[in-house]
């Protein structure tokens, strides 16, 4: 996969890289079990601080997106099937944020629901295409 960061953006490099990897995993561009470049490789390839790459890998490991096998490197983790209380509360937080935002923008519940359904359908479509493309 081709990685890209814009060091001169106001968004920290580690956030850019982390989001990029998460999205690539979610859309199937990075497949389960696929090996990630080493910290050294990616830092030199992007000319960024190795500590930044290490931080991204650590956070993604904590979130269950990547898995590190000592001495072998980092790999894309198996998709978690469990949906525990921790996952439930992250999802609830994200949904609540969305609703607060919609309220403040004076978007009514029906419009929000319609937009959400529309976006969800488009997302499902993308996932399907991603899976077919493999």
């Amino acid at each position: 996969m081709w990685y890209y960061v814009d060091p001169h953006s106001g968004i920290p490099i580690y956030v850019q890289l982390k989001e990029q990897i998460k999205k690539a995993v979610a859309t199937g561009l990075l497949a389960e079990g696929q090996q990630m470049p080493s910290v050294r490789e990616l830092a030199l390839q992007l000319t960024i601080n190795p500590n930044t790459v290490a931080k991204v890998y650590q956070e993604l490991e904590r979130e269950g997106v990547l898995q590190t096998a000592r001495g072998l490197g980092s790999f894309v983790a198996k998709r978690r099937k469990d949906f525990g209380p921790q996952q439930e509360s992250s999802l609830d937080n994200a949904l609540e944020k969305l609703m607060v935002e919609a309220y403040q923008l004076s978007v009514d519940a029906d419009t929000l629901y319609a937009r959400f359904t529309e976006k969800l359908a488009a997302w499902k479509d993308r996932l399907k295409k991603g899976a077919e493309g493999q």
Partner: protein, 296 residues
Amino acid sequence: MKPAIELENLSKKFGKNKAVDNLSLQVPAGCIFGFLGPNGAGKTTTIKMMLGLMRPDGGQGRVLGRDIVRESEAIRRKTGYVAEIQEMYRYMTVQEIISFCKPFYTGWNDRLAKKYLEFFQLPRGEKIKNLSKGMKTQLALILAMAPEPELLILDEPTSGLDTINRQEFLRIILEEIALQGRTVFLSSHLLHDVERVADLVAIIKHGKLIDIRSIDELKTTVKKIRVVFQKEVPAELFSRPGIRSYTREGSAYVVSVENNLQDILADFKKYPYFTFDIIDQNLEEIFLEKVKGDKK
């Protein structure tokens, strides 16, 4: 982990001019530290004191655990230094200066010197006075890295290089110094280079420290908020700690935040608004605002 550099109330005057004014900072070992400030802010003077090339008028400092006044020779033996202006013996050839520098160090790495002489295609037989500015900078980097220093200090290192060479220069520093767990102290007014590689940045002006933070923290907390409220909001909303300044045009506000972003956002969002934008600030924007704002 022990800090690589600790400065405590370091001061230096030239006549009545305070070049460095009660400067205190710590650089953790193994990080890439960006030392930022406009021209004349005291960056080079600070570096010269760290290396024992200039004596402080007040305060103290330790570099790699050694006192900067009493043990500066030991510091210089463990530290690579690329100065802003390359003052090398002009009459020597590239090969001669390498042979000249080598005996001063016990850990001189011939393989590394050879690798980068070839990489930069520096002509060994050429006299230094005939080298371009960029080639002199490349040679200075080789001379600074070959002893495998624990700390590499670079003073405006990339100002003589073009874009491609600058990126290459940074990559070499990452590969040979940062990836070996050694410390880099990068002084610059070229924010692009610092923004790419630094963990931590300090901003100085008139010899004083204005801010020192991780670059990620700067970028996640220093923001501008542009908001149009639906109704009048109390003025106290803008006097919260962490708000640096704000301007108002009718019902639209532009608020500069430098700390406590999440609390401020939560407070603001208690009031209904029409639009609410959080505007990211890159290092250059943060730097300009800080350097312009703190006029004294």
